[in-house]
Subunit: 351 residues, 2 copies
């Protein structure tokens, strides 16, 4: 038995950034996408539950647990749209991976950065099965914290190298374009309207952050054959896509019980047909099946994707010499003698 069981490997924000750079952002996204696909392929081996949300006036705090029987993982994540006014992140997150056999944590990790990466990797995995072939242009509507990650994931996994950016705040588009300038895109165009951004794009990614019913895409903007990657609608009352578009689309989702509460499809009837993405990946259902079909990935973010991300980071860091450890788990020599550990610890000595 490892003597180190009382300490928990810790991936700080700095450590996560160093890990991403040591692998390379695009390679990280490609490998993370592989982990997500692996886990979606064994979908039925996971415990699944909609996230456990605690809503307040200003936002929501959620726990997202899942388990494959070997590991247990959960993510803590908040969503507070007004936070940006105070210079805070809208979404912050951290997560934990534990050994199901003992219940002992094996990894505690920041997940603000990791969630941005896994959300983009997930979108690109869906895009692999749903986006039209032979079109390497993506409209990117909403150029906030998630936008660059989406762009790089679609470039790395699908070869999308032409971007058309739009945001209600032009400064956000400029920031996005600047950040992506030296990442090998053939063209990055800043557009002055969403309708302009979608022109000629085979993929339309929406990633806005307003917590209200908004119509980022209206019906006349969406022609046949496109793939819509709807990332921003992710809680009750927050949607981006006009329901008329939804009604013309084949809709693909992660975990229906959660998506019906949080996704674009909260606008539709409760029994509106949707296709589970894992069924597509596993070959049980068709992805894109015709040139004129409109496909829509109603992304809300599911616990299994976070599990895949934690599992990937765990595999990449376990045993690393530079790993930091937290003294998080009380581990008395005699498990029945927690009190003795307290009384005999150096902490009992006067300073």
């Amino acid at each position: 038995m490892d003597k180190q069981l009382n300490v928990v490997p810790f991936i700080s924000v700095d450590r996560m950034m160093r890990l991403v750079h040591s692998i390379g952002v695009e390679q990280f996204l490609v490998e993370l996408a592989q982990y997500i696909e692996e886990d979606f392929l064994r979908w039925n081996s996971f415990d699944k539950t909609p996230r456990i949300a605690s809503h307040s006036v200003d936002g929501v705090i959620e726990l997202m647990p899942t388990s494959d029987g070997r590991f247990y993982g959960f993510k803590y994540v908040n969503g507070h749209p007004k936070n940006t006014r105070d210079g805070l992140q809208t979404v912050t997150a951290f997560g934990l991976l534990a050994d199901v056999a003992t219940g002992y944590p094996v990894l505690l990790s920041e997940m603000t950065m990791l969630t941005a990466l896994r959300t983009a990797a997930m979108s690109a995995v869906a895009g692999k099965y749903l986006a039209p072939k032979g079109n390497s242009t993506m409209a990117l509507i909403g150029n906030g914290a998630q936008s660059e990650f989406q762009a790089l994931a679609f470039k790395a996994l699908l070869g999308v190298d032409k971007l058309r950016l739009y945001d209600v705040d032009p400064a956000a588009s400029q920031k996005c374009a600047r950040n992506l300038a030296r990442h090998g895109f053939a063209s990055i165009e800043i557009c002055s309207a969403a309708a302009e951004a979608v022109e000629g794009a085979g993929i339309i990614t929406t990633a806005t952050a307003d917590k209200q019913y908004a119509t980022i895409l209206s019906d006349n903007m969406v022609g046949p054959g496109v793939h819509i990657n709807a990332v921003g609608g992710d809680c009750p009352g927050k949607t981006e896509i006009h329901s008329d578009i939804l009604l013309r689309s084949d809709i693909f989702v992660e975990f229906p019980p959660q998506t019906r509460i949080e996704g674009e499809i909260q606008q539709l009837a409760e029994d509106h047909p949707v296709i589970e993405l894992w069924d597509v990946i596993a070959g049980h259902a068709a992805g894109r099946s015709s040139e004129r079909q409109i496909t829509l990935f109603d992304s809300v973010g599911f616990a299994i994707e976070d599990f895949s991300a934690l599992r990937y980071v765990y595999d990449k860091t376990v045993g690393a010499e530079t790993l930091e450890f937290l003294d998080l788990i009380a581990d008395p020599d005699d498990p029945r003698d927690l009190f003795g550990m307290l009384m005999r610890s150096p902490a009992a000595m006067p300073a």
Copy 2:
């Protein structure tokens, strides 16, 4: 806005033990009990949900969230009875307190030690309202990790100074007696049977750890007027008290929807009457009302008690010079520019 929002104060196991010693174990239990009583008095201001459990062959991993609208707290806790065979703790835990207004964590803390303390403080709070007056003897059946904390909490809050110990393993009783030897008890007696331990005791505390239906207390052991503090039954299939005793007792519980699943009352009909402890503390319901009444606190441990414990530790440590901080929250200068933070961080430099 505090510049330190990207880092999270961290209470390690060592730090928790130093905190306990700096306050004194008994004083810590007394103050923690006050926090629990305060929170039980405002019971209706909390979001309440039964814990979210992930069961496996060897044990269970649980998340226990709650919120009072100002703070959000949750605990991660496992229960793996076979762990002790491998020199591991049956129960380990950590928890987090966050600011509801922003979703940002304000404290990450070990909770193995803290859970042992809060469980004992909770039992003593219940004992204040339910135990018979004028009897300072407690039988303590099950002398594992929880036993000394129970003994000290009842001594500090109720003046219980005579202990009668019993455990199926005499070594556990010897350990418990040894650990408590210099803590001011008038007498500590090791008994050779549970029936012997309960003789003359006004309070009977059961705190065994077997994950199975067990009968630690059978009907003939329990005479009129005693208070039973049933700590060990805390998950489906795990009980300690014969149902005949339950049927003769007035049963007090924390949160009925959780206790009906996990507590001793899982042996009874779903509508068997129980009294909510918070109603007693708030004066809405009677606690002990007669000398011959058998009272039973069916303790399973509820999220609000962990919240109280985190809130207490937060109040005791906030602003302390020696506080340790974790780099857990990504905090870019521009909240929309998470990618820029990644790309411009020192982590991007070749080592």
